[in-house]
Symmetry: C2
Subunit: 424 residues, 2 copies
């Protein structure tokens, strides 16, 4: 598919994340004004709450759905409404619209540089998966040895666990280094201390838009997905190592999960579908895919120490996954688990086969044994206070890209004493 041209010129530049082909959903504010729903185009934002109020573009003729300010009410209208709305918005922003309409619409746009971005949707619940075979093999080798690297169920189940929705934050939110129970392999007893092995996890997040009650097929699951975001599942490796047996990660994953501020519609990613890799063990019928369910999305991780330039520490691609989000969502419903609009599914850390394509410092530094050297000459086994992590991602079309915007966060130092209260 070629670039779709817009009368907003910045949307036609090959380097923008937000051509007319994309039109991702976000929430913004200007100054102290109320939060509003917006759609990114080039270097501008369309105030679609304003378009709804003015009656110029309505998703639902009967009810306001963009006044929330969250996209959840819009999601609940379902895939036909999403498609219709997207088509009408693409028509209004297309290059061949009349100058009269352009003059009217431009007043409902603003430069992205003026806006503050917020969480684009209310996160109902958050589930994180473990679906890159390279990542699972690397981590399993470090935690359990090469013989037991891949758990026996891994090639049959898209392994997942429930995360903490209240800890999901939008890109730009600082992330404070957590305290937790730590116990070194040679310590007799644990101690309570700041995390010393704080890490990132490079992931994609799938946003569920259509609720379900009983089990759904992979094809149905794919139709339920509203769009995708970049996701950084901040992880405290030392807390996790001591807490995770037998019931899984808990506080190690509860400090924060950052997402990019724009939900890229599934429709915008359709030209970039690719198949999951060949199965090494046949999947049960309920997990088989009716078509390609992954996407060719190039991803990278940048790390910038406080006040210093950024080094790209990893480059990989979403197509490296063994399981797709649609397979994960289908598996998620097998027990009858109800899914809701606003559920967020983390893909799991995305690691490619190469050493520089690993999506976590745990793997990049091989558990801290082989620190990564930054362009500044500094070395990193895990994150230092003041480090800023930035994830970026884009699918590349013919002369354009469908991008996600940055997903970034800066590590703040741990509290000096988490139990000291004001006035003490």
């Amino acid at each position: 598919m070629p670039l779709m041209r817009s009368w907003i010129e910045s949307a036609n530049a090959p380097e923008t994340d937000f051509p007319l082909n994309n039109l991702p959903y976000g929430v913004f504010s200007v100054g102290d004004a109320d939060l509003r729903c917006g759609v990114a185009i080039g270097n501008r934002i369309v105030d679609v709450t304003g378009l709804e109020e003015a009656g110029i573009l309505r998703a639902d003729p009967e009810a306001d759905v963009l006044d929330a300010p969250f996209w959840n009410d819009f999601m609940e209208l379902g895939p036909e409404a999403w498609a219709s709305y997207r088509a009408r918005l693409q028509a209004l922003l297309g290059a061949d619209v009349s100058e009269e309409i352009q003059d009217r619409l431009i007043t409902y746009t603003l430069p992205q540089s003026r806006a503050t971005l917020h969480l684009p949707f209310r996160v109902s619940e958050y589930t994180d998966f473990y679906a890159s075979k390279n990542h699972a093999t690397n981590v399993g080798t470090m935690f359990r040895g090469p013989e037991n690297a891949l758990p026996p169920n891994w090639l049959s189940i898209p392994i997942g666990y429930n995360g903490r929705a209240s800890s999901v934050v939008v890109s730009g939110t600082p992330v404070r280094r957590p305290w937790g129970q730590l116990k070194g392999p040679n310590d007799a007893l644990p101690r309570f201390a700041p995390c010393a092995r704080f890490d990132l996890e490079l992931e994609m997040g799938a946003v569920v838009g259509v609720p379900s009650e009983g089990p759904v097929t992979v094809a149905e699951a794919d139709e339920m997905i509203f769009g995708y975001v970049l996701l950084n599942d901040w992880s405290a490796r030392d807390i996790q190592a001591w807490e995770y047996q037998p019931l899984g990660p808990f506080q190690a994953k509860a400090t924060a999960t950052s997402i990019s501020p724009w939900i890229v519609p599934r429709a915008a990613l359709e030209p970039f579908r690719v198949a999951t890799p060949e199965r090494e063990r046949p999947l049960l019928a309920y997990l088989t895919e009716p078509g390609p369910m992954l996407y060719d999305i190039a991803l990278e991780v940048g790390l910038a120490p406080a006040g210093a330039a950024e080094t790209v520490i990893a480059r990989t691609n979403y197509r490296e996954m063994y399981y797709s989000s649609a397979q994960q969502l289908a598996h998620h419903t097998t027990s009858g688990c109800p899914m809701r609009a606003g559920d967020l599914l983390g893909s799991g850390t995305i690691s490619g086969p190469g050493r520089d394509s690993r999506g976590a410092l745990l793997e990049l530094s091989w558990g801290g044994k082989e620190p990564v050297t930054l362009d500044t000459g500094e070395r990193r086994s895990f994150l230092e206070d003041g480090d800023t992590l930035t994830l970026r991602g884009a699918a590349f079309g013919d002369g354009y890209r469908v991008g996600f915007g940055a997903c970034s966060g800066t590590v703040l130092p741990a509290l000096a004493d988490p139990y000291k209260r004001d006035g003490e």
Copy 2:
């Protein structure tokens, strides 16, 4: 503390769960009418949404908080508002109120037998713990052998994992036997089939009423708890056995979690506080308790096969726990994990030391090897279709009891084909 007498006579009977000392919070409807907030007293319900509308009893002079119909908005007013509201309601329902007031108030009550009960609060997120030493030892022995029964971290950490809030249902909701991936120890590959080892877990649930952002102490956590419910965490043991390594239970616990329909206020349980048992390993400072944080609540589980009488298969007490809900909540916040009004914390299965005091069939039947014999002569290793499970619990005062009402659910047969759609 003695019985507080009410002019509603049924509240003064020693066998009622709902004396004036209790006044638990629920949500009810009559026929097709809208859902309303109610408070149980004896065999009646006080329509407190009606009292708010009429201006007779308001929790907040400025805003309606009982029109939701959920208790979350009330929770958000905080502990002082809870105490004030409870004191005023106890005064209105007390035996020495004038007949004129009684005549006015009685029109805002109805018999419980006329009402349908609903979830009393919007469950923000659901966390389940693993905090009975007897239960952990029993299950660990079965899953990992007696040498590895208690995980190394168990005496240091109140082990918890995130559950699925969307699957929480109110007592009386039928529970459908799930499908899932199953693999027997001698099978080469898993298959997709209905769960054959469907089980209950007898628990208490703590309802968080006060939100938090950073780490909180055990004393602060205790103040954040709004009240308690009975909780049955339905569990698919065969799904769990194959899926739970390395990241914990997922679909095995996502079918349903039933809770009793009335939130018993923490204030009503104050006279029944008891201490956790002596520590076998010293706790880290952040987990130490400033006072008794458990409650003396007698619990029992009844199992009734379809059309047959019930057998009580277990009797135990909430005081058997090694960790309290306040300790669990304090641990939950160590990483900076934000907590919200409406968060639900399952205590973990409550098992006493005796064979008949175990809170799950897995333990009662010792993994199916020693089936339980019911009064009907039938035997049970795990739940059969048509079985109705009922949890009951009460704290016993001087001539009265503070009870929770029943928490029940009936097992429906698995779907014949979960992927058959209407019209196929």
